[in-house]
């Protein structure tokens, strides 16, 4: 469902491609033994290699290669057994080497494909062009001094995976679904923590416009798009800007633009333009990287069930809707929680309790499923009480809130508060008799054909039982008594 935008001259199609930089989870850097831990004091995690001292040689970290292959497998992508590191040359104070070691013509991962989940419950495939390994740069701080910048090289040399998509994305909605799915896959694989706030995942967004069926238009590359929300806002702003240009006789420049989250606009980064001549060449300090099929197979064996596989299993084997399945798989802990609760129980009921009740109350309390005060065993216990008709679904919601606050088991709360459902027909019958005796006018009206009053009687009986009467039994007995 491509997102179209109406302009003065008709409909426009938004075409988006994305480059995602994901920090690789590893203890040490891509080419040196310095630590990658976040938040250390400035320049304390810098080796002579990272500082680009003369004569230092890079030595490749095996774990980072493994993580790239793992991610490639998770993106259903081609693993290139032969890849080459190249130097990308440019000058910047946070890049002591004067070049970034990256991969250019021969990346470690080739084409792949992932499935994105859209809000209307449908799915779509997005092509992956490539994934390559490269060094991260250091960090500059600009607010410490009026005329100076401060540079910390702790991040310099940490491993990044750059994941490039095909221009298959149509509009902001698909773009946010794409970045969310990539983050989900990386987290399942444990190859990147996906934490956009700390900068461990960053995105560049390429946007162009075309009339449906036309060739691709000229694109602008937007940098500094560092949250899922910013992806959406930047695309919405940029597509409008380009349509305005094109419809007023102008052209889109192929250029780099910066997303400004405060002003909610993109603006040209002129300085980047002249620097775009990177003069890539194979790094003479590093031989080509050759990986064996055996190693790839070994890594394949350790892959977890991936989000899309899990989603399809939940839909096919457990009978969940696409929407419910997409919500449950969105993080691995949530999916694990669901699987523990649903074991031996009704799969849809378990899904409903987690999606409608648990996630809601967790969200309201600023918690995630990992710190849920209700364990999987406890939620299972509550569902069992509903299934064996000890309590009604309505009472169960009360018990659930109490469980969330007190951490007690459902059975204990039901016992303490005397919430057991009344299924004893004799007891229910006597309540019905009382209600009939108290409402002679309504009884007469009902018998005269006012069917709608049935609900009123059910309500009165339930009220008298303090919600504890079994609703099915109440319905059945009432019908008999009123006929």
């Amino acid at each position: 469902m491509a997102q179209m935008i109406k302009g003065k001259t008709g409909e426009w199609e938004i075409v988006v491609g994305m480059e995602i930089h994901a920090q690789v989870i590893a203890n040490s850097k891509l080419f040196s033994g310095a630590s990658t831990a976040f938040g250390a004091s400035p320049n304390s995690q810098v080796s002579m290699v990272d500082a680009a001292m003369p004569g230092m040689l890079p030595v490749l970290n095996k774990k980072c290669v493994e993580q790239a292959i793992r991610t490639g497998l998770g993106l259903n992508a081609q693993i290139n057994k032969h890849s080459v590191f190249a130097r990308k040359n440019y000058f910047y104070p946070d890049l002591p080497q004067g070049y970034q070691i990256s991969q250019f013509e021969h990346p470690i991962i080739g084409t792949g494909t992932i499935e994105i989940d859209l809000p209307d419950g449908s799915s779509k495939n997005i092509g992956i062009t490539r994934l390559h390994l490269e060094q991260d740069a250091g960090k500059s701080i600009h607010d410490q001094h009026p005329s100076k910048s401060y540079v910390d090289l702790n991040r310099s040399g940490c491993a990044l995976m750059e994941i490039v998509s095909e221009p298959d994305i149509r509009g902001a909605e698909e773009a946010t679904a794409y970045i969310s799915k990539i983050r989900m896959i990386l987290r399942y694989l444990e190859t990147c923590d996906g934490n956009m706030d700390e900068g461990s995942m960053r995105a560049d967004v390429n946007v162009s416009m075309r009339k449906p069926g036309d060739e691709l238009g000229t694109r602008a590359e937007i940098k500094n798009v560092n949250s899922v929300k910013a992806v959406q806002q930047a695309i919405e702003y940029e597509s409008r800007r380009q349509i305005d240009l094109l419809e007023n006789g102008g052209t889109v420049d192929q250029e780099t633009r910066l997303w400004d989250p405060d002003k909610m606009e993109t603006r040209s980064m002129r300085s980047k333009e002249e620097a775009h001549d990177y003069r890539y060449f194979p790094d003479p300090d590093l031989l080509p990287l050759d990986v064996s099929q055996d190693w790839i197979d070994e890594i394949k064996k350790t892959l977890p069930e991936l989000p899309d596989e899990k989603k399809h299993r939940f839909i096919k084997e457990l009978g969940l809707s696409t929407y419910d399945a997409s919500i449950l798989i969105s993080d691995r802990q949530r999916a694990d929680y669901y699987e523990e609760v649903t074991e031996g129980r009704d799969s849809k009921m378990a899904a409903n309790w987690i999606i409608n009740e648990l996630l809601g109350i967790l969200n309201k309390n600023g918690k995630t499923i990992i710190d849920s005060p209700i364990s999987t065993k406890q939620l299972g216990g509550l569902i069992d009480l509903i299934a064996n008709e000890t309590i009604s679904g309505k009472i169960a919601k009360e018990v659930f809130v109490e469980m969330f606050i007190s951490g007690k088991n459902a059975a204990v709360i039901v016992e303490e508060k005397g919430l057991k459902q009344v299924t004893d027909t004799g007891a229910i019958e006597s309540l019905i008799d009382k209600v009939i005796a108290e409402n002679p006018d309504n009884v007469a009206a009902y018998k005269a054909g006012k069917d709608k009053l049935f609900g009123f009687f059910v309500g009165q009986v339930m009220k008298k039982s303090q919600g504890k009467a079994n609703p099915a039994a109440v319905n059945k007995l009432l019908k008999e008594k009123l006929s």
Binding site: A26, N27, S28, S32, G33, A34, S35, S41, P42, N43, S44, Q45, V46, S47, M48, V49, A51, V59, L60, N61, K62, K63, C64, V65, V84, N89, F91, Y92, P93, S140, I141, H142, Q144, H145, P146, S147, K148, S149, Y150, V151, D152, L153, L258, M269, S271, E274, D277, R279, P282, L286, L287, P288, L289, D290
Partner: protein, 95 residues
């Protein structure tokens, strides 16, 4: 192939080398000579030749993922022109 002064200027800019007109006039023919020398290689037909990365038959060595370096901030900063509170200090660079 001979390089124009403009091209020399561009290459110098990319390499962050400041040079005056006179130097560029002098360097243009020298650089042209180097390029001419290298261009001789393209006379050879390499269509079916595998690229050679190294003349010795070794593979790229890999390192285990162990923290074995760092914690030498003072030495790292020792050669810098300006440092403060553990940071390198450089002229302001911001858009």
């Amino acid at each position: 192939m001979s390089l124009s002064k403009e091209e020399v200027k561009k290459v110098a800019g990319l390499a962050r080398l400041r040079m005056n007109d006179e130097e560029m006039e002098r360097l243009a023919p020298q650089l042209s000579n180097i390029i001419g020398f290298i261009e001789q290689l393209s006379e050879l037909d390499t269509d079916n030749v595998e690229p050679l990365a190294n003349v010795v038959d070794i593979t790229l060595p890999l390192r285990e993922d162990v923290v074995s370096d760092g914690n030498c901030g003072e030495e790292i900063l020792a050669n810098s022109q300006d440092a403060n509170q553990g940071y390198f200090v450089v002229p302001k660079v911001i858009e």
